[in-house]
């Protein structure tokens, strides 16, 4: 993985820079001791590590603004970090960059039940928002599996999802307002507690921008009333095709389940060995369908779903009788990653999305690739929205196996794009998928995205080396050659 070449001159000035930051943030806001900085060397994608130049931990929006202004004036790069749970290396430090951690901005500022809004600082964890409002029967819908640790600011940066996206959307569909600081230190307030906003949708463009456009210093999220009841169905099939058909049939009947998950045989067995959730070990595919809402509706839909899957030859069907049982049905799925961790020294978790009807095709291709690369793969996926999480099993102690696993992963993602899908459904591009962006986008597409970045950060100081495979200078991107009646880029294929 190539990162921008560190600026030796900046590294030389490290002590002076730390001293300047100390004068802005005080002793609690700066870490420059090499050992003390080691927890910041990587995020959830821990195959890559790098010690940052210095760690800055601002406690207020004004401090964020002053740090950014200072960095802009001194041409210093910034890598933003929430809780460091990114699975794509979004918070991987740069040797010549200031790591800007938002963990000290960890207070919920306001709970407004009547407007269904919570105003919070970016360092608050996703789950803490739900914890703060569940006493009154509310919750925050997006639930990435790292929700106990991941921060809401990081959720905004990555547009995090979870298992309930089909019905409740991703982070972007659950935000009302943001406060952000641009690289020049300007503080902007976007949206608020109203539903729609005039002007360009800057909240929409900030969400999922992976820390390349600005630093989010305050988030207003929408909270929802908890559904009256939730029930889960645990359904076994003797073929992935039949399971996949059932997913389409349920939606075609007008039913939008709160969650619809699927696991393949290796994942079922690993999960069952780990938590004994009562999964059918002999099934080739397992579906969990969760229905939530008013009691009368959920009970009637359970019946409809049962009828549909029976018609598609389900080999086993269980409907949760109690809340404990529902949680148990999920326990296997939710611990799929550690369960795989028990049967393999290492694994890579991929994150492509495909049009759902291509599910059998992608699994067939994965099986073939598994033989080619000589590595096992287990699959868990958000079947409702076609988001796959293939887990590639490998042993880093074996020479060359990590590289082989990475190549296998890249091959899977290329196949996702070929089948009409995308490189990443919820984990982000970061450094992990950066060099694959050309599979999905043309040079023109990528340059247009980078021009947008130039509107926010003309010197490429915010999180450089992430998302885009090639860094173009903004002056170069802005150039426009139009001659009368001629294409601006006659050399590029037009269609």
């Amino acid at each position: 993985m190539e990162m921008p070449i560190p600026n030796a001159e900046v590294i030389e000035r490290r002590e002076a820079i730390a001293a300047d930051l100390l004068s802005i943030l005080g002793p609690e806001g700066v870490i420059d001791d090499k050992n003390a900085m080691s927890p910041f060397e990587s995020d959830g994608l821990n195959a890559y590590r790098q010690s940052p130049l210095v760690v800055a931990l601002p406690a207020t929006t004004e401090e964020v603004s002053r740090v950014l202004k200072y960095c802009q004036e001194n041409s210093l790069k910034i890598v933003p970090r929430g809780s460091g749970t990114s699975l794509s290396g979004g918070a991987l430090p740069l040797a010549d960059g200031v790591l800007l951690g938002l963990s000290r901005m960890n207070r919920i500022l306001e709970i407004d039940y009547e407007n269904r809004a919570v105003v919070t600082q970016p360092g608050v964890t996703n789950l803490a928002i739900t914890n703060a409002v569940e006493g009154k029967g509310f919750y925050y819908a997006p639930d990435p599996s790292s929700q106990i640790a991941c921060s809401i600011g990081g959720n905004v940066a990555e547009n995090s999802g979870g298992v309930h996206c089909l019905k409740y959307g991703l982070t972007t569909n659950n935000l009302l307002g943001l406060e952000m600081v641009t690289m020049d230190g300007e503080i902007l307030r976007l949206g608020g507690k109203r539903l729609d906003n005039h002007g360009y949708d800057l909240i929409g463009i900030m969400t999922g921008s992976e820390g390349l456009l600005g630093i989010v210093t305050e988030v207003t999220v929408r909270i929802l009333q908890k559904p009256a009841i939730r029930k889960a169905l645990l359904i076994g099939f003797d073929s992935v095709t039949r399971a996949s058909q059932s997913v389409g049939d349920i939606i075609a009947k007008g039913i939008i389940p709160a969650g619809m998950e699927m696991m393949d045989r290796p994942a079922i067995q690993a999960a069952e060995d780990f938590v004994n959730a009562g999964y059918p070990r002999d099934a080739d595919a397992l579906m969990i369908v969760e229905l939530d809402g008013p009691e009368a509706e959920v009970l009637s839909l359970c019946g409809r779903v049962e009828e549909i899957v029976r018609g598609n030859g389900a080999t086993s069907i269980r409907i949760s009788e109690t809340e404990e049982e529902r949680v148990l049905f999920w326990a296997g799925r939710k611990s799929a990653f550690p369960a795989i961790g028990r049967i393999s020294p290492d694994y890579l978790c991929m994150d492509g999305t495909i049009p759902r009807r291509q599910l059998s095709e992608i699994l067939t291709r994965m099986e073939r690739m598994s033989n080619e690369f000589g590595l096992r793969v287990a699959n868990v996926f958000h079947a409702g929205d076609g988001n796959l999480h293939p887990l590639i099993l490998f042993d880093a102690n074996n020479e060359g196996e990590f590289e082989r696993a990475e190549a296998f992963g890249a091959a899977i993602l290329k196949a996702c794009v070929e089948l009409g899908g995308v490189l990443t459904g919820e984990h982000g591009v970061g450094v992990e998928k950066r060099d694959l962006m050309g599979e999905m986008f043309t040079e023109v597409d990528l340059k247009q995205q980078q021009r947008l970045k130039c509107a926010f950060d003309p010197d490429h100081l915010l999180n450089p080396g992430k998302v885009f495979p090639t860094l173009h200078r903004c002056a170069e991107l802005g150039r426009l050659h139009v001659h009368k009646g001629q294409m601006p880029h006659p050399d590029l294929p037009r269609f």
């Binding site: 407007n115 929409g204 463009i205 509706e297 988001n387 001659h483």
Partner: protein
Amino acid sequence: MMNTGDDIIIKVGDETELLEAVTQSAAESLPIEVTGSGSRRQFGRPVDGGRRLDLSGLDGITMYEPDELVLTAKAATPLATILQELDKHNQILAFDPVLGGDSLANAMGTIGGVLASNLSGSRRLTAGAARDYLLGFKAVSGRAELFQSGSRVMKNVTGYDLSKLMAGSWGTLAIMHEVTIKTMPKPETSASLLYACADAMEARSVIEAAFASPHEPSAAAMIPASLAVYSSHQPFSDFARTGMVAVIRLEGFETSVKARSDALYAMTEKTPVVTDHALSDALQAEIRETRLMPRQNNRVIWKINCPPAEGGELLDKLIARPNCRGYADWGGGLIWLSSPSGQQAGATAIRALVSDYGGEAMLHEAPEGMRRTLPVFHPQPKPLEALTRRIKSSFDPLGILNPGRMIAGI
């Protein structure tokens, strides 16, 4: 239309012709006014000069897979075509687009126009806005380059989410020629509960109680009796003697709507009138389409977004202004206000009041001259406007696409 001078219209039939037209305009630095059916020319700020680029030839659904909840169409496909096709498969656009007509077949405008103006109907409160349903698009930028973003899958974080930026940008950044949207199942049935209330404050508390229950309303409105009398449907017009009607809408499966309707009925001391499906839809259409608001020559209509819980108090204050009438949708989060057009339509005072409640006011329906001289959208703080200019310039450095459509000079 004013200021068009020779009023040149260029009609394009596919993306090649579109690209050529934009290339030509870029070469000559000539502004373009982009239109589909032209239905949205009566809204927003009028474009400053320029030839008109007519996209109406970009028409047709190119992909629709109901069981994947996804549809791709050329940008100027009539909204009516799309809604009728969805209806055949028992599906809808969940953000409840304003039809501008009395049936799906008579819906006005194009899908591109609906998305570019990010205009959503009554279900916006619970189902999201038009912007939440745009999954991907193909477009030509003001640099005369074809580019795309997003895809056909619902879960996608690959690169910046430019779809969000395109929605609500009124064609000022790029010209979309193909859009991919998320569709949703059509609710089996609906019912509306109508409550007689003294004023908007009380109506808002009825709505709040319904939303604080587990009975999942999908929409809610507050209608002053003086406007309810304009309804063509009797249960509504019967409320003439009360101050304000709170309307709570339930949608979904038959068994569910029945159970929730019974539960809500039993929940309050107030006894609501409960409508059947047909009437519920008819009333909802009147609310969504602003048909309860009489149109008069010397009046303008404001579209005001505010935090839903402030909607009751704000509505009471707005309609207490001289000669102002209005009602609220989105549970209080959207206020439609009719005000006299004299004295700059009261813009300064109305916007100041709305700002105090955390809202924004759009001059929605007004004579063209007024939409040119008064800011149509709520004025932005300076740093935000500067960023808006830089974003515009990153897509359209020559300023040729719909110049001035949102903000004068941008």
